[in-house]
């Protein structure tokens, strides 16, 4: 299913920068002490560096009479490196700031509605927390950079005084201005060309993914040449985007070079003018200025890259603010749930243009086990999502008893429903931790053992023990074992309504039969919906609903449906 990200740039960009920064830091304690200390240390390091300018230019122009300048330079340089290392205090304070912003975002994410979260894919949510949060500290980094550069230039003031700045000054000023302008242009460009480049690569990847998924079909239809032709076209588009990117690289290199270009001009062109006017007779000063000029360039470059950094920071902080501004779920609003039949009346659901459920009428009787069957893509998973109120029906009603499901509070609904799906969705921790994950009251030893037995976990538990660490997402367990833990977890949570959505897909057919058999026996009396692919599972059901192509083909008690329906006939054993 296609997921369209909620964080499309237009809505994010609507947030005003001022507001985004304010909301970013709201409720977050800023570690001023560490930040200021780091700032002071950085400025000190820069000052020390600047005081070396004299020794450097002396040596570079061969004006030193002994090696003392070199030793002085080396010593102070090493001290300066050590001081610079100490500025890590500031870095650590900024890490603290980012962590506080992350915690605020995490708490928020857990409150956003499941529906909005579904629209956003997990990978990009993760990057909000991990990488985008890094931008929270950027404004302070930028300030530190600016202060450091200014300190550096002030430190150079002594050296600079020796030169006739009336000649060089204006040129340097114009140079910095020009470089900044080009840098800003390049920042405008980079967004456009990078996005274009990424999207062309994405098109190509998507096309390959589609074609490589059906190579037999392509070969049988003699479509190889058509595929290659289309691919060549997409490659050409990517090439076009990469050529444009090269233009951006040109502009970017230009902005870096303008500074140096202009300073060359300042040094030598100004020297020519001054020589001709007779104001200058000796170029030693010029030589010294030239040797300082790489230091100055280095310093000023930090300013020139600022537009890029600022643009990225604004983008990043807006993304964070967007998450923080999203609507929280209202868990409490609504009535209490009461045990009742769940009925779908004329329910339709559209995903993009596709009608996954088409005018479906079905009833899930309270206290009974209903098997939901049908071929792939027939709409079964949509039914499950409508049940857990993750989706809203496009048309028609979903009723719990005689009330619309939407009248009931989410809190109450979730208290009564649990879903076990193919993706076991376990947590790192022990087997026991995971099984007890949903328990809201004390669970006796007996209850725990019963759940383990019914879920078919006895072997695993006797081999590895209840305290076995199952790893991230339960990775240390096999797919089948993970599902069994999920089943045990659902049993312990003991809710009145249980949905088994391909809950045994990773088990081999024999084990599946065993586990389903025991499970459905144990939960007799609860309202169970089980998505079934085999007759073994269907055997245990009270009612059956057959879905085909989004429509309800048949629904009713098991005996009635099994004998009369063609799909049922086709089900393998």
């Amino acid at each position: 299913m296609k997921k369209q990200s909620l964080f499309n740039d237009s809505s994010v960009n609507e947030i005003k920068t001022k507001n985004s920064l304010r909301s970013l830091y709201k409720g977050v304690k800023i570690p001023w002490g560490g930040i200021l200390l780091g700032l002071i240390v950085s400025m000190l390091a820069m000052l020390l560096l600047a005081t070396q300018a004299e020794n450097v230019s002396l040596m570079q122009t061969g004006q030193h009479k002994d090696l003392n300048p070199f030793f002085a330079y080396t010593l102070l340089y090493i001290i300066d490196c050590a001081v610079f290392y100490l500025s890590v205090i500031g870095d650590k304070a900024l890490v603290t700031l980012n962590t506080r912003v992350r915690k605020k975002m995490w708490a928020k994410i857990l409150k956003i509605s499941a529906r909005d979260l579904e629209k956003e894919n997990p990978a990009s949510l993760l990057s909000r927390i991990t990488t985008d949060s890094e931008y929270a500290s950027m404004p302070f980094t930028i300030l530190t950079t600016v202060f450091s550069v200014v300190t550096f230039l002030l430190g150079l003031a002594g050296e600079l005084k020796k030169m006739d700045l009336s000649a060089y000054g204006p040129i340097v000023g114009i140079a910095v201005l020009l470089a900044l302008i080009v840098a800003i242009i390049s920042v405008r460009m980079v967004f456009v060309v990078s996005t274009a480049k990424q999207s062309k690569i994405a098109n190509l990847t998507k096309y390959y993914s589609e074609q490589l998924g059906s190579t037999k079909f392509i070969k049988a239809s003699r479509g190889e040449e058509r595929t290659v032709d289309k691919a060549l076209g997409l490659i050409e588009e990517r090439y076009g985007a990469e050529r444009n990117y090269a233009v951006y690289q040109l502009v970017n290199a230009l902005s870096a070079s303008i500074l140096q270009l202009a300073l060359f001009g300042a040094t030598f062109a100004a020297a020519i003018v001054l020589l001709k006017s007779g104001a200058l007779r000796d170029l030693t000063g010029t030589a010294r200025f030239y040797s300082n000029f790489s230091l100055i360039c280095g310093g000023l470059m930090n300013i020139v890259v600022l537009p890029q950094v600022i643009a990225e920071t604004i983008g990043g902080t807006k993304k964070i603010s967007y998450v923080n501004s999203m609507e929280s779920e209202n868990l409490e609003e609504g009535e209490e749930f009461a045990k009742s039949d769940i009925a779908f009346k004329g329910v339709s659901f559209l995903y993009d243009d596709k009608r996954t459920i088409d005018n479906a009428d079905m009833t899930f009787e309270a206290g009974k086990i209903t098997a939901l069957v049908g071929p792939n893509g027939s709409g079964k998973s949509t039914v499950v999502k409508l049940f857990s109120r993750l989706y809203k029906a496009e048309s028609g009603d979903i009723l719990a008893g005689d009330r619309p499901a939407s009248d009931i509070s989410l809190k109450s609904w979730r208290e009564n429903f649990s879903v076990v799906s193919q993706n076991a969705s376990l947590f790192s921790g022990t087997v026991k931790d995971n099984i007890l994950y949903g328990a809201k009251t004390e669970v006796s030893e007996d209850e725990l053992l019963q759940a383990i037995e019914v879920a078919g976990l006895s072997e695993l538990v006797s081999e590895k023990g209840l305290d076995y660490e199952i790893g991230v997402k339960g990775g240390k367990l096999s797919g089948g074992e993970q599902q069994r833990v999920a089943i045990a977890r659902a049993l312990i949570a003991d809710k009145d309504y249980l949905i088994l959505d391909e809950a045994t897909a990773n088990l081999d057919t024999k084990t599946e039969a065993e586990v389903i058999g025991k499970l459905l026996e144990t939960v007799k009396g609860k309202t169970v919906i089980v998505i079934a692919h085999t007759m073994d599972v269907v055997e245990h059901a009270d009612n059956i609903i057959v879905l085909r192509d989004g429509k309800v083909e048949a629904a009713g008690p098991r005996e009635q449906i099994v004998s009369g329906n063609s799909f049922m006939k086709a089900m393998e054993d």
């Binding site: 296609k2 040596m59 122009t61 061969g62 004006q63 070199f70 080396t74 090493i78 050590a82 290392y85 500025s87 962590t99 992350r102 915690k103 995490w106 994410i109 857990l110 499941a114 997990p122 690569i201 993914s209 589609e210 490589l212 059906s214 190579t215 392509i218 070969k219 049988a220 239809s221 003699r222 490659i235 990469e242 090269a246 040109l250 060359f264 030598f268 020297a271 020519i272 020589l275 007779g278 000796d282 170029l283 030693t284 030589a287 993009d352 243009d353 596709k354 792939n376 979730r414 429903f417 969705s425 947590f427 991230v472 997402k473 085909r548 192509d549 429509k551 063609s566 006939k569 086709a570």
Partner: protein, 582 residues
């Protein structure tokens, strides 16, 4: 070991040359890179001239007139500007070269990949294959600029600097600069090693904590459904505290690495300054020469320093090209010439066995599919029916036994000509991004009129749906996702109805359709396949019963064949299958 190394290099160059390098652009880039190098060298050589030769600035002006000084300034200005502008141009040209080489390599790779044999294509995980086609091509091409443009420029700077230093006539200076070569490599590698180890440790820890954060994010639905939000906020905070610790360690490591980098560079600096200074104090060289020497030595060192990361890039590029070559430098389907005149006749399987890995998909099966006849294949899933179709389509070759068409081994036939005799409709008939019209015409040699297309859609019971969605120009989306499973299957059937081949292969073509549609569509298919040679896999008993011949498969073996009447009385497995379906 040496053999491997040469193989990797050979491999890399073969790939580049087969993809046609943009010679014009490369030469342009090289020229400007050399301009940059030479301008830099001459700038360095002449910079010393602006300071006076002697001690006393006011008196000993080395006899240079204002005109001479102006000339030198103009020269330096010109050289400096030339170097910078050349650098900017090289950046642009490099970008163009990389883009073009990338395009050429991709073109070369794509043409090969889609003609690979099916078995080869399936050996590679498709996600990896996509990475090969999009990423590895880019990596292979990025290095071209380094190698063909920048490398020579760097060598020119390093060697040129030493040559110019030699011109000063002071052997010590030359030797100390030559000594810089191994020194800088050693210093670079040492600094690189320390920083790499540190960074590696931190990155591992970071990845571990990130994985646990990712776990929570992936499981949010579960957290909500068990109403554990408060608990997970607490746990998440503890996790973020761990992340905080690792990030702080990373910050410390970064600063430390910078420190290592900065301090190690004092050593080469000392080698430049100390010997030359001592000579200058004794009067062996003038300050002017010292200044030029300093500039030249710096340029040389920079070039040497830039060399080290290039080796890392080289390894990456070679790795990428090796991965790419391993995929595309294998036998293609139409490499060997094949017979294009296809003799129509019976299809005969004789003692055919084929295995997928350890699994024996077909075990010594023999049967005849008579021309013009209708054969049904039945059996449990995984019993070998689809494998038979795959073999008929020449997607795979049997391990032993022969398959003949019209008494000729199908191995002799040219793939394209052979497949044009078959219409194959698989179970999950895909539809590719494009219009309904394009999907219908996908297997056609000649275009059809709109009326013909709509007629086919009508017979496949999907015309109304398509018209409701937007008609023949409706775009069906990536993998046909804008159509339901049933609609996609009917579209495939409509496409089948437009074809006109002697042989028709059908694999569960009504599985996703409701009962009503199945009946109507099956009737259409029967009418369509009248007189053709049909092989059909189906669970629908009505279809199976009417076949001229039925093949019963069980775990890769052909256990029975005959008509429905014959099998019902003689074959137990068939009886069971029929009973299940009823």
């Amino acid at each position: 070991m040496k053999n491997e190394k040469t193989k990797v290099w050979k491999n890399y160059f073969q790939l580049l040359f087969r993809s046609k390098l943009p010679v014009g652009l490369l030469i342009t880039g090289l020229v400007f890179a050399l301009v940059e190098s030479l301008a830099t060298l001459f700038f360095d050589k002449n910079i010393g001239s602006i300071i006076p030769e002697g001690d006393d600035v006011l008196i000993d002006y080395s006899g240079m007139t204002v005109e001479e000084l102006v000339r030198i300034c103009a020269l330096l200005l010109a050289l400096g500007l030339a170097a910078l502008l050349a650098k900017v141009i090289v950046t642009y040209v490099s970008g163009l070269i990389t883009a073009k080489v990338n395009r050429n390599i991709q073109n070369y790779a794509v043409k090969k990949v889609f003609r690979l044999k099916t078995a080869q294509l399936e050996e590679n995980d498709s996600r990896e294959l996509i990475t090969r086609l999009t990423d590895d091509t880019a990596k292979s091409s990025e290095f071209v600029v380094e190698l063909f443009v920048k490398e020579l420029a760097r060598i020119v700077v390093a060697v040129g600097a030493i040559v110019m230093i030699a011109r000063f006539g002071v052997p010590t200076l030359v030797w100390s600069q030559i000594f810089q070569i191994p020194l800088i490599f050693a210093v670079s590698l040492l600094a690189g090693y320390i920083t790499f180890k540190n960074r590696n440790k931190v990155q591992k820890k970071l990845a571990e904590v990130t994985a646990r954060i990712a776990e929570k994010v992936d499981n949010i639905e579960t957290i909500k459904s068990f109403r554990n939000e408060e608990l997970e906020i607490e746990r998440g905070n503890a996790l973020l505290d761990e992340y905080d610790k690792v990030k702080k360690e990373a910050a410390r490591v970064n600063k430390f690495n910078t420190l290592v980098d900065q301090i190690t560079w004092i050593i080469p600096l000392a080698v430049i300054i100390i010997p030359a200074s001592l000579i200058m104090f004794k009067g062996g060289i003038t300050p002017a020469i010292f200044m030029s020497y300093f500039a030249l030595a710096n340029s040389c060192n920079t070039a040497l320093k830039d060399q080290v990361p290039v080796w890392i890039k080289l390894k990456e590029a070679q790795g990428a090209s090796l991965r790419l070559s391993s995929v595309i430098c294998t036998e293609l389907e139409n490499e060997a010439a094949g017979e294009t005149d296809i003799a129509k006749g019976d299809i005969v399987f004789d003692g055919v066995s084929v295995s997928y890995g350890e699994n024996k998909a077909l075990d010594n099966v023999s049967f005849t599919l008579k021309k013009g006849g209708k054969t049904a294949m039945v059996g449990l899933s995984g019993s070998g029916k689809s494998t038979v179709l795959n073999l008929i389509e020449k997607f795979y070759e049997p391990d032993c036994g022969t398959i003949t068409l019209g008494s000729r081994d199908i191995r002799d036939y040219d793939y394209l000509s052979y497949r044009s005799c078959f219409s194959y409709l698989p179970q999950n008939a895909p539809a590719f991004e494009g219009t309904v019209r394009e999907a219908l015409e996908y297997s056609s040699d000649a275009p059809h009129s709109d009326e013909e297309l709509c007629d086919a859609l009508k017979r496949a019971c999907v015309l109304e749906d398509i018209e409701a969605l937007g008609g023949l120009d409706y775009r069906v989306g990536y993998n046909g996702e804008k159509l339901s499973g049933g609609q996609r299957q009917k579209l495939g059937i409509a496409r089948l109805l437009l074809s006109d081949t002697e042989y028709v292969l059908l694999d569960e073509v009504t599985s996703a359709l409701d009962a009503e549609s199945t009946k109507a569509v099956s009737a259409e298919i029967d009418r369509f396949t009248e007189g053709k040679t049909v092989v059909i896999v189906s669970h629908d008993m009505e279809t199976v019963e009417n076949a001229d011949s039925i093949l019963v498969f069980d775990q890769g073996r052909l256990v029975a064949q005959g008509t429905h009447k014959e099998l019902v009385s003689s074959c137990d497995l068939y009886k069971t299958l029929v009973k299940e379906a009823k």
